[in-house]
């Protein structure tokens, strides 16, 4: 269930590759990684690549809302790509499907 996060960036676009589950045990990791990029200089867009993310719960949603809010106040675009159907379903249910690109 571990969620190692890898980061790649090009021309101000930072992509976080998240794997496994996004829940109580892993949200802090993602929050720290995302804030690290948003607080740094030159982050124009932050994208979570969720191709390897298989599970998300309400704690994970809370974390995404947090990141989304911070990105907005930092003037950085934020979104998610490659959502698995299960993850897309939860985002849809809680009205956060606009994050999906």
């Amino acid at each position: 269930m571990g969620s190692p996060i890898t980061i790649e960036h090009r021309d101000g676009v930072y992509v976080l590759h998240v794997t496994g589950a996004l829940d109580l045990e892993t949200v802090d990791q993602l929050r720290t990684a995302a804030c690290g990029q948003l607080d740094g200089d030159g982050c124009v867009e932050l994208i979570i690549d969720a191709a390897e993310l298989s599970f998300i719960d309400s704690t994970g949603i809370g974390c995404l809302v947090d990141i989304s809010n911070r990105a907005r106040s930092a003037g950085t675009r934020f979104g998610m790509t490659n959502l698995e159907p299960q993850v897309a379903r939860v985002l849809d249910l809680v009205g956060m499907s606009h994050l999906a690109q």
Binding site: M1, D57, S58, V65, D66, N69, V94, G95
Partner: protein
């Protein structure tokens, strides 16, 4: 008088060398005793051999061979300053040679008649580093008044030196073993102290770890709001644990007691009783029975250390040894004090945590009415269980009869934990009430809440469902801001999740809300809940919701309140993970 004779054939030089080598390999006290007593007599033709340890000004025999009946008991222990060959050899660290019983009687009058006729006696000191006195003495008697010559005596002295080295090695090994025992204990105890915020359980674990290696029994007293109380007891003999508790109950600690754990609690200064004389028990006893009970505990040695943190003494740790011969010393005290500091910190953390949790829980309880019974025509039941191991969260519910006769029910979940979440929840609940009173359209309420989050957010984020039930039209109008879908259970037990147009949670940026209106029969039950009721770690959401729908069939039972509890039990929710909150409502059935 022949002081030395070398012609006795019993003295086997090769045999002595073998036994000396054997000592070099000895790793237990028994092996040393075997070599120094049994094997040596064979090698040098001695008729009697004894090995006597010198400790704390006394001599104690630890092995003997060939002694006459009765002699062994008589010589099992004597004082260093007694007038006899063994004590003299120990004091002077020089060999004592007695040629005959007549010489013994002449030199040591108190020993008269102890050496049989025809025998001679040699007492060899086993020197110690930093002596005198010697570490031990080796007593040997020979038949036919034989005594070793100079070279033989040198060889025997070498043997005694090997004995001393073997004893030193054993003592060092024991020291290492004790040290590692202590370090293991400290590591285990520290792990136990860090593992839980329930300090009573933790302190019991610590007390249990101390027994039997460090203590025969161990007790922990803690300063509670009501005064000092024993919270943990461990004893080598489990049967005595109950008895020790009884003793504590019958003779509860007196905060003003002149000594013992009460004084340590007051002063924060450790107390070490290497030896506990009976007079001390007499002085501390409250009555004859108490004295007898104290004596039954066989307290030979004790230490009491404070459990301190941030300059405050939260309690005491008492260790008692019943075995004679292993008195507590300064190194034991240092270990116990180290443990006391760690335990003190653990208690301090637990108290701080409990205080914060209590405040959050009190706020939660103050804001959430436990029962909502005063709404005419409606039966409302609620369930709230704060997260167990985690901090209290920010779940809330509400039910409010509107001026037009409709009923508004609300459920919400403020993100976060602890006091900030509880405070955010209280503000948010009040805001919802106020907006509902202003304009009962749930879309308008959400719009107002979005404004509130924009300019004076009560919390970072919250999810919420607001449902307004119109009994006359038998329908419900609801809005959902990022919350899991409410559920309608019909009279036949069929459950339907109410999928509404999704909008994001409050705090995730303003969003347009649309309300959804669906039929709600007079016999149907509406269930609102928070994620803690439905979610299971690692389970996909649709499976969680399906299980919830299945279990909600019990809500058709006549008593809504007990039906709700039945459903929560059947779901087997794990309150340790998250708050669990639910609200159910239906028309009072005619």
């Amino acid at each position: 008088m022949t002081r030395q004779r070398s012609e006795t054939a019993g003295f086997d030089v090769a045999g002595l060398a073998r036994v000396t080598a054997e000592l070099g390999a000895a790793i237990t006290l028994q092996e040393v005793v075997d070599a120094a007593v049994t094997h040596i007599t064979d090698a040098i033709g001695a008729s009697v051999a004894t090995l006597v340890l010198v400790e704390n000004g006394a001599l104690r025999m630890i092995g003997g061979r060939g002694m006459r009946a009765g002699i062994e008991e008589q010589w099992s222990a004597f004082a260093l300053d007694d007038d006899n060959p063994a004590s003299e050899a120990a004091r002077t660290v020089r060999p004592v040679m007695i040629d005959s019983s007549a010489e013994l009687d002449a030199r040591y009058p108190t020993m008269r008649g102890q050496l049989p006729d025809g025998r001679s006696l040699l007492v060899l000191p086993v020197a110690r580093v930093g002596g005198p006195p010697a570490a031990a003495v080796l007593g040997l008697t020979f038949e036919d008044r034989w005594l070793p010559d100079g070279m033989q005596l040198d060889m025997l002295t070498t043997f005694a030196t090997a004995c001393g080295q073997a004893l030193d090695r054993l003592a060092a090994a024991e020291q290492v073993a004790r040290q590692s025992e202590r370090l293991t204990f400290l590591a285990d105890a520290s792990a136990a102290l860090a593992s839980s915020l329930d300090y009573r359980t933790t302190l019991q674990t610590v007390a249990s770890l101390a027994v039997p290696e460090l203590a025969t029994w161990c007790a922990v007293d803690v300063q509670l709001d009501t005064g000092p109380a024993t919270v943990a007891i461990a004893h080598v003999d489990p049967a005595k644990v109950a008895w020790a508790w009884e003793l504590q109950t019958r003779y509860p600690s007196d905060p003003d007691a002149p000594g013992g754990s009460e004084r340590v609690m007051r002063t924060g200064i450790s107390e070490l009783y290497s030896e506990i004389p009976d007079e001390l028990l007499v002085a501390a006893a409250r009555d004859p029975e108490h004295l007898q009970l104290s004596r039954d505990l066989q307290m030979h040695s004790a230490l009491i250390v404070p459990l301190t943190a941030r300059g405050q003494t939260h309690g005491t740790l008492s260790m008692i040894r019943a075995e004679a011969g292993r008195a507590y010393d300064d190194s034991d005290l240092a270990l116990a004090e180290d443990l006391g500091r760690r335990a003190g910190l653990a208690i301090d953390n637990a108290k701080l945590f409990a205080q914060a949790r209590d405040v959050a829980l009190q706020l939660q309880r103050a804001v959430l009415p436990e029962t909502i019974t005063d709404i005419p025509g409606w039966e409302v039941a609620t369930y709230y269980a704060p997260g167990g191991s985690a901090e209290v969260g920010g779940d809330f519910y509400d039910a409010l009869l509107l001026p037009d006769g409709r009923l508004a029910v609300v459920i919400g979940d403020v993100m976060g934990h602890g006091l900030p979440a509880a405070a955010g929840m209280a503000q948010l609940r009040a805001a919802v009430r106020a907006y509902l009173a202003e304009d009962p359209d749930p879309v308008a309420v959400l719009r107002h809440l979005d404004h509130l989050f924009d300019f004076a957010a009560p919390t970072r984020m919250a999810t919420m469902v607001i449902a307004v039930i119109d009994a006359s039209l038998e329908q419900v109008t609801l809005v959902n801001a990022g919350h899991y879908p409410p559920l309608v259970v019909d009279a036949d037990g069929a459950a339907n999740l109410l999928w509404t147009t999704a909008r994001p949670p409050l705090g995730a940026g303003s969003a347009v809300a649309e309300s959804t209106t669906v039929p709600l029969a007079a016999t149907s039950t509406l269930l609102l809940y928070t994620d803690g009721l439905a979610e299971r770690r690692g389970e996909i959401l649709d499976d969680s919701l399906e299980r919830l729908a299945r279990q909600s069939a019990v809500l058709t039972a006549p008593s809504l309140r007990s039906a709700l509890h039945t459903m929560v039990d059947a779901l087997g929710v794990n309150a340790a993970d998250d708050d669990v909150t639910a609200l159910v409502v239906r028309r009072v059935q005619p």
